[in-house]
């Protein structure tokens, strides 16, 4: 069964889509069959990959026209990575799209239909704690919270955690907190360092990996590629997502009781 990882944050601009995309690429490059599902009514994944807003069919076609979800998957140059885009939903109907995702069983059925042989399903949600976020958490297994290392983001962290806790108690007992991922970290700035000090001092589930603030994200966005696709020397920021994917796999193994022990060895 695929691990469904829901990227969620009540605050906008914390790096959900950037994390979803680059994490999915990192997992796929480790050989883990992965699907990104774009649940953002704005189609953030497609926009990040420099696609026209109506370029790709996707979830909207599944929900509105009854198209087979498998036919909507977009292949990538990585054989282990596919994308289920948002689809050609009229922006005027974004509100209806969100409510239907929440009130119907479409999302669960769609995920079930596309996850054969998939190890990770990365669900990218819009900012806020509205119906799409709730629908994703209701069918997800793991919640991953990107936390922008700035005071305003820290102040909203409790809102997201409260919703996760509520969904876990009342709707989806399988949902667990995978972790809090500090993003846009600038340890040379007092405000960012203060936030990190607070998070490191007693918060649960904080990843060891942090994502630094860097212009390279905007450069990648400009040409519509993940960080590891620049060519030339590997960007250090791309390596962060490799580390994150490793940490996530280890954490899931630990939390689900999967043994990854190995026999003692001798070097010489």
């Amino acid at each position: 069964m695929s691990h469904r990882v829901v990227l969620t944050s009540s605050k906008g601009g914390t790096g959900k889509t950037t994390t979803a995309l680059n994490l999915a690429v990192a997992l796929a490059e480790r050989g883990r069959p992965t699907v990104i599902v774009d649940l953002d009514p704005q189609g953030a994944i497609g926009l990040s990959l420099a696609q026209e807003d109506s370029a790709w069919g996707g979830l909207a076609e599944v929900m509105i026209a009854g198209v087979d979800p498998m036919d909507m998957l977009v292949a990538t140059s990585l054989p282990t990575l596919r994308i289920l885009p948002r689809g050609r939903i009229d922006p005027v109907d974004a509100w209806d799209f969100e409510l239907r995702l929440h009130r119907s069983a479409s999302l669960a059925q769609t995920l079930d239909a596309i996850e054969d042989g998939v190890e990770f399903t990365i669900l990218d949600t819009p900012s806020g704690l509205g119906p799409v976020t709730r629908a994703a958490l209701a069918v997800g297994h793991w919640a991953l919270l990107p936390l922008q290392a700035e005071p305003a983001a820290l102040r909203t962290l409790g809102q997201t955690l409260r919703v996760i806790d509520h969904v876990r108690q009342h709707e989806n007992p399988r949902l667990r907190l995978l972790g809090i991922l500090p993003t846009m970290v600038q340890l040379d700035q007092d405000h960012s360092l203060n936030v990190m000090s607070t998070v490191w001092a007693g918060f649960g589930g904080v990843f060891d990996t942090v994502i630094p603030r860097s212009d390279v994200f905007a450069e990648a966005n400009e040409i519509g590629i993940p960080l590891s696709f620049f060519g030339g020397r590997t960007r250090p920021e791309a390596r962060r997502f490799t580390l994150l994917s490793d940490e996530i796999e280890a954490r899931i193994n630990t939390m689900t009781g999967v043994e990854d022990d190995y026999e003692p060895r001798r070097l010489v």
């Binding site: 929440h102 009130r103 102040r155 409790g158 806790d165 876990r168 709707e171 667990r176 649960g204 589930g205």
Partner: protein, 184 residues
């Protein structure tokens, strides 16, 4: 540098929640028992605001469940109800999920079972009783049965501000018929 740059109790609450969700403080107070500074919409308002009609032609694949708790979790998610409980032919609640009140649904389960058994007396050419909806001032209880002989007397009851619509009731009944022999 401070250890709490926002200087807010929100951050202390977030810290506690994160530790509990990460499995570090498993004995922390659960949400519903703890006082919160938040206001909540009445369920009826929220449900009315969010209501979206389903297509009557919608047909869904059937799931294979091995346990009642799996079935109830699916039913809760499928209907977006506040709570669901299952009643056996003797009127005993054999499982529940969702926003279950502290004293459970034992009383409601027994009464609902009795009400449906009384309605069974009306059996005529109309066929067997499939479902019943009780409308109270602040919520509805919708009882759904499976139309198979071995499931006679078993009821799934959904508690919510809104009654279940026809399509949802039909799907619940189909799923119950499909799963019942395994769950029994």
């Amino acid at each position: 540098m401070t250890t709490n740059p926002a200087g807010l109790s929100d951050i202390d609450a977030a810290r506690s929640l994160s530790r509990r969700l990460a499995g570090l403080d498993t004995d922390a107070v659960i949400e519903d028992a703890a006082p919160t500074p938040y206001l909540r919409f009445a369920p009826a308002e929220a449900a009315a605001d969010a209501a979206v009609s389903e297509s009557p032609a919608e047909t869904e694949p059937l799931n294979d469940f091995n346990r009642w708790d799996e079935f109830l979790a699916w039913g809760l998610n499928r209907t977006r109800s506040s709570a669901v409980f299952a009643i056996d032919p003797q009127g005993f609640v054999i499982g529940s999920s969702g926003n279950v009140p502290p004293d459970g649904f034992e009383g409601a389960g027994a009464e609902l079972s009795y009400v449906m058994s009384q309605a069974d007396v009306m059996r005529t050419e109309m066929g067997t009783l499939r479902a019943i909806t009780l409308e109270f001032a602040s919520l509805h209880i919708t009882g759904v049965r499976a139309d198979v002989e071995e499931a006679e007397g078993f009821v799934l009851a959904f508690v919510d501000a809104e009654a279940l619509d026809d399509v949802t009731r039909f799907q619940i009944s189909r799923q119950l018929e499909h799963s019942f022999s395994v769950l029994l």
